[in-house]
Symmetry: C2
Subunit: 278 residues, 2 copies
């Protein structure tokens, strides 16, 4: 079976896009009330432009069981209209033993996501059950986009080269990745770290949040993080696309404009990246 | 408003118990099929003996929306029959910004848990939104009970005293804890670490999984981890109690026997602990 990294690369190459749209329905910001309908219109307007959608579990859980029903409908709708697009369930789960097995089952059997995000603070036990699903991707939190990621991820480890904790996590991720299904979450807000990690991990896909509202620079992030083929990244934007307009009638059109613009920025940056062409 | 630590201590002192029963419904092990009914009978049989119940979110999520409905019924049942008992929603969530705010809302507004577990790999941003709920507890993953917790948690940090990563996490947790609502998750499988962390953090409650199936020794863990009053811990057992019998008729009775025995072991160990009496 094709690895997740290969499948993602194929979509990205075919559609010439590394755009990932974060589906983060926030009742205080949505121009219409119905979550499933809100997502449906965003998907209809943007799917030709994107390689992936990334529903953030927190927003659905905060709405209780009706929120999870809306997520179920959203996944079904994406499969119907854009079966080639990857769905990354962003849950940042991390547990051990039979609990980790249950989380992997929730993400891949129940939700049927193509990939999910995992927090590996508890070590290999947290990741291993997710690797039992051939072709499904696991993005391990490495260097996250938020300011306080520095609290622990930047700590230098008492070893000869004094690596930082996030480098140790990336090193372990590479070691665990026997099937080509592991990627790393690295914030666009840290282009130097993106460059460093790409140099050390040439083939792993990077899921890169933090452009737009969080202040990450798309061009810098792409130049720093693309692989040798000018691909290998998913650049996620949530608020910048789904809340591009707060008007109930035109928000899908503005989401499309924002997604088009992000795709263009990425592709221009890619052409300018060393030895790369999307 | 009373802090979570004070409220937990009050229940523990009044009922002379530090037992926490993990409600981890696994279809392959449950003697009856109905999750809500399975939990209900466990709760009815054990609530006089326990300070807390700890539903592990993974098991409910793995059953899809029917699983989450069963969790809803379980929480309601515990509130009805044992309103003084704490409910710790074990989700190990960890995210940032508005996603972390949404997770906190899911755990405390939607699920109405008294406390929850949080993974702080992303730093203070992950914890801060959970602290906006006065009196609700946050147990931060510190030194988890699984073997591969060593992968990252044991790494020594390049600072003068060469602390290990889990010590840095505990240090940060103490610093963030302005309202007495933060505790630490520390595995019973690591009694030396429990002793070390108690010496440095005298008042934080410890949530201690890993006894029974995972091999942690109750007596050693309790002696190492109790606070100056001989309390300050929740000793969690899941499989050892809820699957004490696989027979549909007698499993509640065996759950009660197992919970009674765990409570006794803890209380004997507490009396033997230096300067402590429950």
């Amino acid at each position: 079976m094709e690895s997740f990294a290969a499948a993602l690369d194929a979509v990205s190459a075919k559609k010439k896009t590394m755009v990932c749209v974060g589906l983060d329905p926030d009742p205080r910001r949505m121009p219409i009330e119905d979550v499933a309908e809100f997502n449906k219109r965003i998907v209809d307007a943007t799917h030709p432009l994107v390689a992936a959608y990334k529903p953030q579990m927190a927003y659905y859980e905060a709405l209780g069981i009706p929120g999870l029903n809306a997520l179920e409908q959203t996944v079904r709708h994406i499969r119907d209209v854009a079966p080639e697009v990857m769905i990354v369930g962003d849950g940042k789960r991390g547990d051990m033993g039979s609990s980790a097995t249950a989380y992997a089952s929730a993400m891949f059997d129940v939700w049927d996501f193509d990939a999910t995000t995992v927090n590996a603070y508890q070590g290999s036990d947290t990741v291993e059950p997710f690797l039992q699903y051939p072709g499904r991707g696991v993005f391990i939190l490495c260097r996250t986009s938020n300011p306080s990621s520095r609290d622990f991820q930047d700590l230098r480890v008492d070893e000869e080269e004094k690596p930082q904790l996030f480098e140790k996590v990336a090193e372990a991720a590479e070691r665990w990745d026997i099937g080509g299904n592991i990627g790393l979450v690295i914030g666009a807000t840290f282009p130097m770290e993106l460059r460093l990690l790409r140099a050390d991990h040439q083939t792993m896909p990077f899921l890169v949040p933090g452009v737009g509202a969080q202040g990450g620079d798309v061009i810098k992030a792409v130049k720093a993080g693309v692989d040798g083929n000018g691909r290998g990244m998913l650049i996620n934007s949530s608020r910048g696309i789904i809340y591009a307009s707060d008007h109930p009638k035109d928000y899908p059109r503005y989401a499309k404009i924002a997604a088009t613009s992000l795709r263009q920025q990425i592709n221009v940056a890619t052409e300018a990246a060393p030895g790369a062409a999307l």
